[in-house]
């Protein structure tokens, strides 16, 4: 569990349009890395290349290297399905399977990996829901539809679903942007706990959130509309927020951004 990620010279395209250019960064195991930057600078695109979800968009492709503990996840011999099993993802909008019960949602990824005895499934489902701080709220209604939960609960259900398969890395794309402040705090607490076991990369619009939850922060920016986004700098979160190396980062963080 918990592997490192090495990205070198990653460029991301949608058809002919280059959305992100020349990103290199390293992500340590059992750390939280936050991506910040203005919208459209390619944070989501970078995140989605880390588990090969980028390429499901028609016409989307990328160049460069992404290594998971030294193994190239874009090597031709690697099946993207296996990459996604190893690197879980939580989306901006909570997306539990609407026709499935809470239980089945959490078990969905496990069931893809083959049959297991019901007792084992029960255990993993409970453990994952506990880890996602949702167990106490749903333990009496596991057979109810997941879509009936509140937004914050749904997002925690999605986190439970993602961690049920014990991924090496957990990617989160603005997981709190659709949630109220209390649910947001609940998820931030959760990230703090999950960090002990998982490598986490989180995209966020909210700089306080980045400062609160992350160990390292990467700032992305783009020169203008139609220009590719770039990683301006990535460093310890403390340093980024107190004394960044780049002027653009400082401007963005202090709100002096164009």
């Amino acid at each position: 569990m918990a592997k490192s990620i090495d990205v070198s010279d990653l460029s991301i395209y949608y058809g002919k349009f280059c959305a992100v250019q020349g990103v290199s960064l390293t992500i340590e195991p059992r750390s939280v890395t936050a991506f910040i930057g203005p919208s459209g600078c390619g944070k989501s695109s970078v995140l989605r290349t880390l588990n090969r979800m980028h390429e499901v968009v028609p016409g989307a492709w990328s160049s460069g290297k992404v290594l998971l503990d030294g193994e190239d996840i874009y090597s031709p011999s690697v099946d993207p399905v296996n990459v996604r099993r190893a690197i879980g993802m939580v989306f901006q909008k909570p997306n539990p399977f609407p026709t499935m019960s809470i239980y089945d949602n959490v078990a969905a990824g496990l069931k893809l990996q083959g049959r297991r005895p019901r007792r084992e499934l029960d255990e993993i489902v409970e453990r994952s829901l506990r880890a996602a701080n949702l167990w106490e709220e749903v333990k009496d209604r596991l057979e109810r539809p997941g879509a009936g939960l509140s937004g914050g609960q749904q997002q925690r259900l999605c986190i439970a679903r993602a961690i049920a398969v014990e991924p090496e890395v957990l990617l989160m794309d603005e997981p709190c942007s659709a949630l109220d402040p209390i649910s947001t705090l609940a998820i931030e607490d959760l990230i703090e706990q999950l960090k002990e076991h998982y490598t986490i990369v989180i995209v966020t619009h909210n700089m306080q959130q980045a400062a609160r939850v992350s160990d390292r922060t990467g700032f992305f920016n783009l020169a203008g509309v139609g220009q590719p986004g770039r990683l301006i700098e990535i460093d310890n979160t403390q340093r980024i927020f107190s004394n960044p190396a780049e002027k653009a980062t400082e401007d963005y963080i202090s709100g002096r951004f164009g």
């Binding site: 588990n51 979800m53 499901v56 399905v81 296996n82 990459v83 996604r84 099993r85 190893a86 879980g88 993802m89 989306f91 909008k93 997306n95 539990p96 399977f97 609407p98 026709t99 499935m100 019960s101 969905a108 990824g109 893809l112 539809p145 879509a147 009936g148 999605c158 679903r161 993602a162 398969v165």
Partner: protein
């Protein structure tokens, strides 16, 4: 400040138009009212037409059912114009349901498979023309399917049916008494119906599959689902109510199909499981074939059988709605 200057309120009043009063005297805008009347009127007209049809069928049926000397629902013979008048819809109902059921069983999997292929597997360059072709097939009149069934399909089906009778004859459905020609059989009628309803089922389910939200698909993909698993986790559950509705649409067409059945089936009034033997009948085909020969009572008897078909179709639709509604709680956006 001199006295000539108008008070400030007046200056402001000339600058800003007076705010529109909230009350205009009416609480409904005319456009809304016209629309409400038109749409309400249209749906009322529709209900009225259905009620009139039911009333007409009922009005003509009652004398026939009164005159019937046997049980109208359980008798399978059809001699309304003889004395005493003996007729019943048992064989018609049996044949109608059996042929439609065969059609559904054959058509739904193929239709759903085609729809999945077009919506989620085929490259776009192939998917477009395929979708177009399916839509085109859905618009072909049923008499064309009937003729095609009669002259092309029936001869082709002899081999398959012979094989079924030889190898699976122990199974009641496929057993044959003695020397079936395998031509005007229930199975053939079912196959023609299946081909006929396949395009419409496929077209409707395809549209539903295309509307699967990207969220659901990506949720499955991000868990490491293969293509097929994405279909199973995200596409089929979302599409299920659509598949049911489409099947019911197809079933409705199959239940009421007249010409294709009248052309393919050699009709009689026997209730039998043996779908490889010639014979059987349906409401619609019986009405079409008998209408020309029927006297007064016979005509009313046919109308009475039409009423039963009407009720069956209604029940099928209500059941389908029930099935869909029961799943709604779990269906989310699929409604």
């Amino acid at each position: 400040m001199s006295d000539e200057q108008p008070p400030i309120e007046e200056v402001l009043a000339t600058l800003a138009p007076a705010p529109a009063p909230l009350s205009t005297g009416r609480s409904v805008r005319p456009g809304d009212r016209i629309f409400a009347v038109l749409s309400g009127g249209a749906s009322l007209t529709l209900l009225l037409i259905i009620a009139l049809i039911a009333a007409f069928l009922l009005y003509r049926s009652i004398p026939a059912v009164r005159a019937d000397t046997t049980n109208f629902l359980t008798t399978s013979a059809w001699f309304p114009d003889s004395t005493p008048s003996t007729f019943g819809i048992a064989a018609l109902a049996w044949g109608t349901l059996l042929s439609s059921l065969i059609a559904l069983v054959l058509a739904v999997p193929v239709a759903v498979g085609t729809a999945l292929f077009i919506a989620h597997f085929a490259p776009r360059r192939l998917a477009q023309p395929l979708a177009y072709l399916v839509d085109l097939l859905a618009a072909v009149p049923s008499v064309i399917y009937g003729l095609w069934g009669l002259f092309f399909l029936v001869p082709q089906m002899v081999g398959l049916q012979t094989w079924l009778a030889d190898h699976l004859g122990w199974f009641p459905l496929f057993s044959v008494g003695s020397g079936s020609t395998f031509k005007q059989t229930m199975l053939n009628a079912g196959v023609v119906l299946a081909v006929m309803i396949l395009p419409i089922i496929s077209a409707v389910t395809r549209e539903v599959f295309l509307q699967v939200p990207r969220d659901h698909v990506e949720a499955a993909q991000a868990l490491g689902a293969t293509r097929w698993e994405v279909i199973r986790l995200a596409v089929l559950p979302f599409g299920r109510p659509g598949i049911i509705s489409a099947s019911m649409l197809g079933l409705g067409r199959a239940l009421g199909e007249t010409v294709a059945i009248a052309l393919v089936l050699s009709t009689n009034y026997v209730i039998s499981w043996k779908i490889l033997e010639p014979g059987g009948n349906t409401f619609a085909a019986n009405i079409a074939l008998q209408y020309g020969y029927a006297a007064d009572l016979g005509t009313n008897a046919l109308i009475a059988s039409g009423l039963v078909l009407f009720v069956i179709t209604l029940v099928v639709n209500i059941v389908a709605r029930g099935v869909i509604a029961r799943r709604r709680e779990f269906a989310g956006a699929a409604g």
